[in-house]
C-alpha cells in the first residue's frame, strides 16, 4: 500500500469537523476517484494527505511512514500534487515551471542541475507536451496549463499523484486528454488519487471510488459498486441516471431533468 489513511478527522476551529473517520488505501498503479458535492472537505482531505494541514485524529501513511513525522521535502518526493488551476502572477516558462517540481530533490541553497533538466524534459516527453517547453504559463490555455502542472508533479518522481478536480474547467476534448494521461500514468505504476465532479470520469479510469458526504465516506469500493443511482442521489441531492452506452463504450451518469426545465424535446 502506498497510501493509507486511517480514521482521519480534521477541523479548522476544533469544533465543527470538516471530515471524520475517513479510511482509505491505495496501491501503486491504482486510481481512486473521490466524489462528493462542493464543500464536503475533499480539498481539505488532500491538504491533510500532503501534510499541509495537520489531522486532529487518525493518521496518514505514505509508503508505511506517517506524514506527520516526515519533513516537507520527504513528502514531496513521494507525493505529487496537481492543483485545480494555477493563477499565474509571473510569466514563468513551462520549463522553469516544471523544473520547480525538482525542488524536493535539490538542496536549499542550490539550483537545478543538468540532471534536473533531464528529468524535467522526461516529464514533458512523458505526457507529450515538449512543444510547450518555452511557452509562458500566463499565455497558456486551461488545458495546456493543466498538462504542465501534471508534468511538474511528475518531475517530482512521485509514487502517488493527487489531482484536485483535474477536469473541472476544461473543454470535453481536454477532459478526455487529461483522463487518458491519468490512465497512462496509472499503467506506469503511479498510484493516483483524484477528486472529481464527474462520476463518469471515475468509470473511465478508476479501479475504485469513494463518495464523501457531510464529512464522512458514504460508500467506498469498486467504481461499479459505489457509483450507483442511490449513492449519487445521497451525495448530490438529485436523481442521476447511470447507464452503459454501447455506442460510446462506457458508462455515463446523467442527471435527470430536475424540475421540468424547458429543454427542446427531440423525438
Amino acid at each position: 500500500m502506498i497510501l493509507n489513511v486511517n480514521n482521519a478527522s480534521f477541523s479548522y476551529d476544533g469544533i465543527t469537523k470538516q471530515f471524520e473517520d475517513i479510511s482509505l488505501s491505495l496501491r501503486r498503479g491504482e486510481v481512486l476517484s473521490l466524489l462528493g458535492r462542493n464543500g464536503t472537505g475533499k480539498s481539505t482531505l488532500i491538504k491533510c494527505i500532503l501534510n499541509i494541514l495537520r489531522l486532529q485524529g487518525g493518521a496518514v501513511e505514505i509508503d508505511g511512514r506517517r506524514v506527520a513525522d516526515m519533513r516537507p521535502e520527504e513528502v514531496a518526493r513521494q507525493v505529487g500534487y496537481v492543483p485545480q488551476a494555477h493563477r499565474a502572477v509571473f510569466p514563468f516558462s513551462a520549463l522553469d515551471f516544471v523544473l520547480m517540481g525538482r525542488a524536493p530533490h535539490i538542496s536549499a541553497f542550490s539550483v537545478p542541475k543538468e540532471e534536473d533538466y533531464e528529468k524535467a524534459e522526461e516529464a514533458f516527453e512523458r505526457i507529450g507536451i515538449t512543444h510547450l517547453r518555452e511557452k509562458s504559463i500566463s499565455e497558456m490555455s486551461g488545458g495546456e496549463s493543466q498538462m504542465v502542472m501534471i508534468a511538474r508533479a511528475l518531475a517530482q518522481e512521485p509514487s502517488l499523484l493527487i489531482l484536485d478536480e483535474p477536469t473541472s474547467h476544461l473543454d470535453v476534448g481536454n477532459q478526455m486528454k487529461t483522463i487518458a494521461t491519468i490512465d497512462q500514468l496509472a499503467a506506469d505504476g503511479i498510484a493516483i488519487l483524484m477528486c472529481t465532479h464527474f462520476p463518469d470520469h471515475a468509470f473511465l479510469v478508476s479501479h475504485s471510488a469513494a463518495i464523501l458526504n457531510k464529512g464522512r465516506l458514504i460508500a467506498q469500493g469498486r467504481a461499479e459498486d459505489v457509483i450507483t443511482k442511490e449513492n449519487l442521489r445521497e451525495a448530490y441531492g438529485v436523481d442521476i441516471c447511470v447507464h452503459y452506452i454501447k455506442e460510446a463504450g462506457r458508462t455515463v451518469c446523467i442527471p435527470m431533468n430536475p424540475c421540468g426545465c424547458r429543454g427542446r424535446e427531440v423525438a
Binding site: 507525493v79 509571473f90 520547480m100 535539490i106 539550483v111
Partner: protein, 395 residues
Amino acid sequence: MTRGKEPTVEAGQEPGESVTINLPWIASHGGMPVHEAVLRFIPAGKAIYLLPVALFLFSLFFGRYMMDPVETFRILVIGSVNAFFDGASSLLSAASGQQVLLPSFEQTWGASEQTVVFQIRLPRLIAAMLVGGGLAIAGASFQGLFRNPLVSPDILGVSAGAGFGAALGILLSGNPWVIQVSAFFFGILAVAVTYGIGRAIGKGSTLVLVLGGIIVGSLFSAFISLTKYVADPYDTLPAIVFWLMGSLSAVSNADIVAVAPPILLGALCLYLVRWRINLLAVGEEEAQALGLDTKRMTVVLIIASTVITASAVCISGIIGWVGLVVPHIGRMLVGPDFRKLIPVSAVIGASFILIVDDIARTLTVAEIPLGILTSLIGAPFFAYLLTRKKVGWIS
C-alpha cells in the same frame, strides 16, 4: 533573450563561476546549433554585468570637479596599492614590534585629487551601488514573496520606521552616527512589529502581513509628521526634510565600512535562495506541496530584505522607486526566473543609482536630493519601457 532557455555549452568551459546569467552546466540540454548557443552565451545577459563597472569608472572622474580619466585611474590603482602597502606596513610593524616599511609608489598627484578620489567619490560611488543594488534585490524578493509585481521593499514599513528613527535622531542629537543607528533600529523595529501583527492575526499569511505593513507604515508616517511638527523650523526641520528626500552627499568611508557587510550578507543570502523564490512566487500552497518550508522561507526573505533596506536607508535617506521598478526592468531583460532576476536586478539597481547620483551632483550647483531624481528620471523611463515591451502581468 528567451526566457528559461539555457545555452548549450561544453561543460566546464567556465568552471566555478558564481555570478552569471547563463550557467554552463546544462551540457546536453536542448538541440540548439552551436553558433546560436555561442551567440546566446555572449550577449545582453552577460554584458549587463559590465554596466556598473563602466559607470563606476566614468563616475569617478566625472563631476563638477572634472578630472582626466587616465589620471583618475592611475590615482585609483596606485593610490589603492599604496594604501594597501601602508596598511600592511603598520600591521607588520605592530606585529613584529619594529618599524617595517614596505616600498610604495611615488604620489605624482596633488592632495586635492587624492581627496576627491578617495574621500569623496569612492565612498559615494560604492554607497550608490550598495544602495541601488540592495534596494533592487530586496524589491525583487518581496515581489516574489508577496506574489505581486507592485510591491516595493518598504511594503512592511521599513522606510517609514527608518525615516522616523532618523527624524528622531536629528531632533534629539544631530550626530550623524546617532541618526544612522536610530534609522536602522527603527527600520528593523517597524518590520518586527508588522511581522508580529501578521503572526498574531493571520498566522503568517502574506495578505495580513501586507495589511500589517500598511498599519505600521502609516503609524510611523504619523510619528514622522509629529517630529517635523515639533522640530525647529530654522534648523532641525529642514534637516529632517532633506534627510527624507534622500542623498548620498554626506557618505564617508566609515559609513561604507558600517553598512557594506549587512547589505552584502543580506544580498548573499537572497542570492543563495534565489531559485526557491520561484516556488514561493507561484503560490504558497503549491510551494508547500513541492516540499518548501514556506514559513521559514518567508522569514528568511523578510529578514534579509529588511536588513538590506534598513542599512541602505540609514546612509542614503529614503530613495523610492528603485526597489519597485528595477525588478520590472530585470524581468523585461531576463524573464521572471529569480535565478537570473536577482543578480540582474542588483546590477541594474546599482547602475541606475550611479547614473541618478551623477546627475544629482552635477546638474546644478547645489545638490538635488536623490529621492526626487529617482522618480523624476525613473518614472518616465519606466513608462517608456512599458510602451516598448510587452510585460507578462499586463494582458
